[in-house]
Structures are given as C-alpha cells and as structure tokens.
C-alpha cells in the first residue's frame, strides 16, 4: 500500500471586513506559515468586496487559519467551485467591457473619482474618449481604458442618440 497521500485542494470563501481583504489575506498567510498549515493559496480579487478565497485540503484548516485573525468575520459554509472564481483570475482587457454611451468612473489621474460618459472607443489603442458628467461645459478627454471602471451600461435611447 502506498503512503503517498493525494490531497485535493478545496476552495473556501471567507467573509472579511469590506476594504480589508488584502490585509486579511496577508495575516492568514502569515498564520499559515507560522503554524505550518497546509494552505495552498489565498485569493483577494479586486472587485469582490468583503470576501476572500482560501484553498486548503479541508474546512478545519481554514477555521484554524482564520480564527482570531483581525478583519476576518467567518467562513462561508460549503465549498466554492473553481469555475466560479476563474473569472477573477483571467485578465480580460477592460476595453472589451466598454461601449459608447456607457457611464464610467475614472480610477486614476487628475480626474480620479469623477463620472463620465463614453463618446468614442478605440479598441486598437485601448483608449476611450469620455465626457465628464460633472463638468459645466463639454470637455472631451481621451484616456486609457485601464483607468476606467464600468458603472452603468447605456440604455437603448442613449445608444440611439449617440449613434445618430
């Protein structure tokens, strides 16, 4: 009989304080290293507030690693399928999600935090021309798609207006 154990990792979701996902993940990793717990990986996706994923052989390992850790609330019962978290790992270009008329938020540069409407898209250069919603007069700005975050998709009426 072989002594070799084939431990298949299972993914568990852990609830954390919103905005503290990275800190919680780092503290769990430190605890896992110190106590030599068999945790394979910890994932803190950008667009999932209040949750992280821990890959471990069983729920008891996750419980041990997350107990008494700051910013960790509880373990979500049950396991998470890998197909459910795969979307957080694949880096799809942001420009693919955007289209003319969509409302976006600017995430970097001097206009950070402002909302704008897309008026033109250049998929080759990965650039979008936007008009700030908060500006008093229309000011078209061309920015890289990486600095935009989709807020709202355009309704049919807006699409028709911009299409004319």
């Amino acid at each position: 009989m072989s002594d070799k154990k084939n431990i298949e990792p299972i993914i568990f979701a852990v609830k954390t304080t919103a905005g503290q996902e990275k800190n919680a993940a780092e503290m769990i990793a430190i605890k896992a290293r110190m106590n030599k717990l068999p945790i394979a990986s910890i994932l803190a996706p950008e667009n999932l507030r209040g949750y992280i994923f821990v890959e471990a052989p069983g729920p008891h390992v996750v419980e041990e690693a997350t107990s008494d850790v700051k910013h960790v609330k509880s373990r979500v019962p049950g396991r998470v399928q890998f197909s459910d978290i795969e979307k957080y790992l694949t880096t799809k270009p942001i420009i693919e999600e955007l289209d003319v008329g969509y409302i976006v938020e600017i995430t970097g540069g001097p206009f950070k935090g402002m909302r704008a409407r897309i008026t033109r898209i250049n998929k080759v250069k990965q650039e979008a021309t936007i008009e700030l919603l908060e500006a008093i007069f229309t000011l078209p700005i061309t920015v890289h798609a990486d600095y935009l975050k989709l807020i709202e998709k355009a309704s049919k009426e807006v699409k028709e207006e911009t299409g004319k």
Binding site: R33, P38, A40, S41, F82
Partner: protein
C-alpha cells in the same frame, strides 16, 4: 516605498528590479492579490501559471 508589481511575472515587490524575472518593469498600479503558499497543490497557481510561492497581483496596469 509603496509596493509594486512586476509587469512580466506579476510578483509583488518593494524594489524596481524584480528578483524573480530580473526585469525592471514594475508598476505601482496593480489590483487584486493572490498569495501562493504551495504552488504544487494549488489550482489557482496552476491557472495563473505560477510555479514559485509568493504574493502576486491579479492585474497590473
């Protein structure tokens, strides 16, 4: 000094030069984090193509 992520291998570093792939292409603008402790037994590490333990960014701008 704020943490940076290597544009090539996505490893989160404190210096401009990546100690893993030896390239000087690091960026302060990165989002998402994956901490890989055991790459051999990790589905996430395999999916991301990571073979060494460490902290990795999910998206580097």
């Amino acid at each position: 000094m704020s943490e940076k992520a290597c544009r090539n291998c996505r490893l989160i570093v404190n210096t401009n030069l990546c100690p893993e792939c030896k390239t000087a292409s690091s960026s302060e603008e990165w989002v998402g984090e994956a901490i890989i402790l055991d790459p051999k037994n990790s589905l996430i590490a395999k999916s991301m193509g990571i073979t060494k333990p460490g902290r990795y960014a999910l998206r580097v701008r």
